[in-house]
């Protein structure tokens, strides 16, 4: 008995160190959630299967953590051996007992009043390596905090908050580096990704998402427009250990709705970039929306999956693919080793493009650009989807995405000039979705709706959808028991059958679900956790 306790204790302290090897094989320890999207492949798929399609109706609330903050709670928690780490906005790290919700410690970071993130003082989560937690802050710092004590270890200034730079996404750890990118695409920033030494916080490499003079791609920016080109980063990337490539989606070029000051394709805005994780050198890129004027950020989580794909000779071979439902309304499959465009199909109503050329470049529909009088574009400004985490289930072979369907905005263009720290937008979108208005009467018939859509990546065809009345900012989690968890602006958190979209369970949480849910287990009991409103909720089966 004593030996057993000793062994447990020993195993516990051994396991407390989160090595990079553990992160790489996070799927092998599904009781934990070691990185933002579950694994570095970012499928947000868990092997936990105690909660099933049969018993999910018996889920009951185990605990609520109420954050003393009125900001949107967008963070996905990490769980390491029974300890849950979350971020209450803007930038407080909280360590909780994952079984009871009781707090071990809180680390409070006070962002500078200079911070000016466009869309709320939000944070989407943490990264961990060893005993260190990493957090980006809304005033563009990267901090490392001791996971045992909650004490600050280092604090690195990544960029200048007063110029509009901010960090809102969960960092990504690769080997001995922690990688972050900068938000601020509405303020005329010059976006970049950078890797910092986990031990010291010193910068190891930096990749500008807007190339400077002499760099390839610089010619896609007229005049000095590259200096204020945007291409921000605000959602976590992925990593393929076999290719040693890290993948990140980039945001809109600036100014958003008037492309006149920036003639050209504006690389690498609205793109996915594949970087060598050791050096930050660009291996390949694919631009989803060249010369975007609709704020169609490509800040979606790159989902990495291996697919049986036709090889052109009538045979199929396993292809290292990347699945991407883009804010611009198209669902893409790319070869993640080379960046080759494999397929692209609309998953919502789209009117700005009507197909691709042979290289995979979208063919624009003439006249579909923002104008002084206004031009109606599908999908609208918030996009067909956005930063909300999608999911891929290797069991069903389906890709799941939170969607704003049948949704448009009218885009207006105005003259624009850059002033440091000020909005650099060049127009505005008028959307038909009421954007959080309480009065349902104000909604018109053609305003669009939220939906979870299941797409077969091999065909790009929709397999099923779960329609909501309101739109959704909720991420998606799938499990090995064919469950799918998501939510929406109405404040429901629900479980669907991942095979057919049937509603199996729902609960009203009373606040907008604007985060991705995750699952973990403690002492053999599976929990499902999600943030809604200003609180974090954890559910498990009734005992």
């Amino acid at each position: 008995m004593k030996l057993g306790i000793l062994l447990c204790f020993y195993a516990g302290s051994l396991f407390a160190q989160v090595s990079f090897e553990r992160i790489l094989s996070a799927d092998k320890e599904p009781q934990n959630w070691l990185t933002y999207s579950g694994t570095t492949l970012s499928q947000r798929y868990s092997l936990l299967s105690q909660i099933t399609t049969k018993n999910v109706k018996d889920l009951e609330l185990q605990w609520i953590y109420q954050a003393p903050s009125l900001e949107k709670y967008e963070a996905t928690s990490l769980v390491v051996d029974g300890i849950l780490y979350t971020v209450q906005p803007p930038n407080d790290i909280v360590a909780l007992d994952a079984a009871t919700g009781r707090t071990f410690w809180t680390y409070t970071y006070k962002p500078s009043p200079e911070a000016r993130p466009c869309c709320g003082h939000v944070n989407r989560g943490l990264a961990i390596l060893g005993n260190r937690l990493f957090m980006g802050t809304v005033d563009a710092h990267l901090v490392a905090v001791d996971a045992k004590s909650g004490h600050l270890l280092w604090d690195t200034t990544v960029a200048k908050a007063g110029s509009g730079y901010a960090l809102t996404h969960a960092p990504l750890v690769v080997k001995n580096k922690v990688i972050v990118g900068t938000a601020g695409g509405e303020f005329g920033i010059r976006g970049f990704l950078a890797a910092y030494d986990v031990g010291t916080g010193k910068e190891i490499w930096r990749f500008y998402t807007v190339p400077g003079p002499g760099e390839p791609g610089h010619e896609t920016w007229g005049g000095d427009s590259w200096k204020t080109g945007g291409a921000s980063i605000w959602v976590t990337g992925s990593y393929d250990p076999e290719l040693n490539l890290t993948y990140w989606g980039t945001g809109n070029p600036g100014p958003d709705w008037n492309g006149d000051p920036r003639p050209g394709d504006n690389l690498y805005s609205d793109s996915v970039v594949a970087l060598d994780a050791d050096t930050g050198k660009l291996k390949w890129y694919y631009q989803f929306s060249p010369h975007d004027e609709f704020d169609h950020d490509s800040v979606q989580v790159p989902v990495l999956a291996d697919l049986e794909w036709p090889d052109g000779t009538g045979q199929k071979r396993l292809r290292k693919a990347m699945l991407w439902a883009n804010r611009n309304g198209l669902f893409y499959v790319l070869d993640r080793a080379t960046g080759q465009f494999l397929s692209g199909k609309p998953f919502v109503d789209v009117n700005w493009t009507n197909g691709f050329d042979e290289k995979g470049r979208p063919i624009r529909v003439a006249g579909k650009i923002p104008t002084v009088e206004g031009t109606t574009i599908y999908p609208g400004s918030e996009g067909a989807t956005n930063w909300y985490s999608p999911s891929y289930s290797p069991r069903t072979g389906l890709f799941y995405v939170s969607t704003w369907a049948a949704y448009a905005s009218t885009f207006f263009r105005i003259p624009v000039a850059y002033t440091e720290g000020r909005v650099y937008a060049g127009g505005w979108p008028k959307s038909y979705v009421p954007d959080g208005r309480a009065a349902e009467n104000l909604r018109k018939e053609n305003e669009g709706f939220g939906a979870v859509r299941a797409i077969d990546p091999l065909t790009g065809q929709r397999r099923w959808e779960f329609k909501m009345n309101d739109v959704t900012d909720a991420g998606i989690l799938t499990t090995a028991s064919d469950l799918l968890f998501s939510g929406g602006r109405e404040g429901y958190f629900y479980a669907l059958d991942a095979r057919n979209g049937e509603l199996l369970w729902k609960v009203t949480l009373g606040g907008v679900v604007a985060s991705g849910s995750m699952t973990y287990s403690v002492e053999g009991r599976q929990y499902v956790s999600v943030a809604a409103g200003h609180s974090l909720f954890s559910f498990a089966l009734r005992k």
Binding site: P113, I414, E440
Partner: protein, 254 residues
């Protein structure tokens, strides 16, 4: 083009009002430009895109005086999406001048031909308007509240609503109808609706909630429940009624 003409007229009237508050027309014009470039991205060009904030109606959540507005614009509102603005002092003045000028030109004096006092008598008497509408705490909840109707609607729109209620029904004033499994129908104002439920006030002013799965059908009613007054009131009486309605600018504004 039509919109541009209306804008020009409105801007002209706005300038007059702003001048009464001590701002110059140049302030308002500069403020409008700054507003479009910096604020419309979230607040919308009409200033009504953020829930609970209606800039054109002077309805702010965190400020009422010019000084407080200036603080909010300069420093932002912690805990919200409102960021600090990087403005010079004269730009702040211009922005406030523009905010104060918004929505002050809703009604043109030329159209006010009737007698408001007589109109009030018609509204509360012969017209039986309080049977459905509500003003300053008097009347019914069934139809649209009219306490601030003089701020939000122009004379021509008011006249048309009285004579031809079906011509334009604002989305928020549409009636909603549900039919239960046993065939019972309930009509009223929709207050809320989501994927699974419906909340409304029925025509008897009762708050009702329904589960969609228990309903046979539900949806908006195409026509207005309001009768036309074309053959019920004389032209002069309609003008009086309109003259009264444009004086309704909210309990705190008179």
């Amino acid at each position: 083009m039509q919109a541009a003409n209306v804008t020009a007229v409105l801007l002209g009237l706005s300038l007059l009002v702003a001048a009464q508050h001590g701002y110059t027309p140049a302030d308002v014009e500069e403020g409008e430009q700054l507003f479009i470039e910096n604020c419309a991205i979230c607040h919308g060009p009409e200033g009504d895109a953020v829930p609970g904030v209606e800039l054109a109606r002077g309805r702010f959540r965190h400020a009422s005086s010019d000084e407080e507005l200036s603080q909010v614009i300069a420093k932002g509102i912690p805990g919200t999406a409102m960021p600090p603005g990087n403005f010079h002092e004269h730009q702040l003045t211009a922005l406030i001048a523009y905010l104060r000028s918004m929505g002050t030109s809703v009604n043109t004096s030329a159209a006010i031909l009737g007698d408001a006092t007589r109109g009030k008598g018609i509204f509360e008497g012969k017209g039986e308007c309080l049977n459905c509408h509500r003003v300053d705490g008097k009347g019914s909840y069934a139809g649209p509240e009219l306490t601030e109707i003089g701020v939000t609607r122009r004379t021509a729109q008011l006249e048309r609503s009285i004579l031809d209620p079906d011509a334009e029904i604002l989305p928020e004033n549409r009636f909603f109808r549900v039919v239960m499994q046993d065939g019972t129908a309930v009509t009223g104002r929709l207050l809320n609706l989501d994927t699974f439920t419906i909340q409304m006030m029925d025509s008897k002013e009762q708050l009702r909630s329904f589960l969609k799965k228990n309903l046979r059908e539900f949806g908006f009613v195409g026509k207005s429940s309001m009768p036309s007054y074309r053959n019920k009131l004389s032209g002069e009486e309609v003008a009086d009624l309109v003259a009264y309605l444009v004086t309704l600018k909210g309990a705190n504004r008179r």
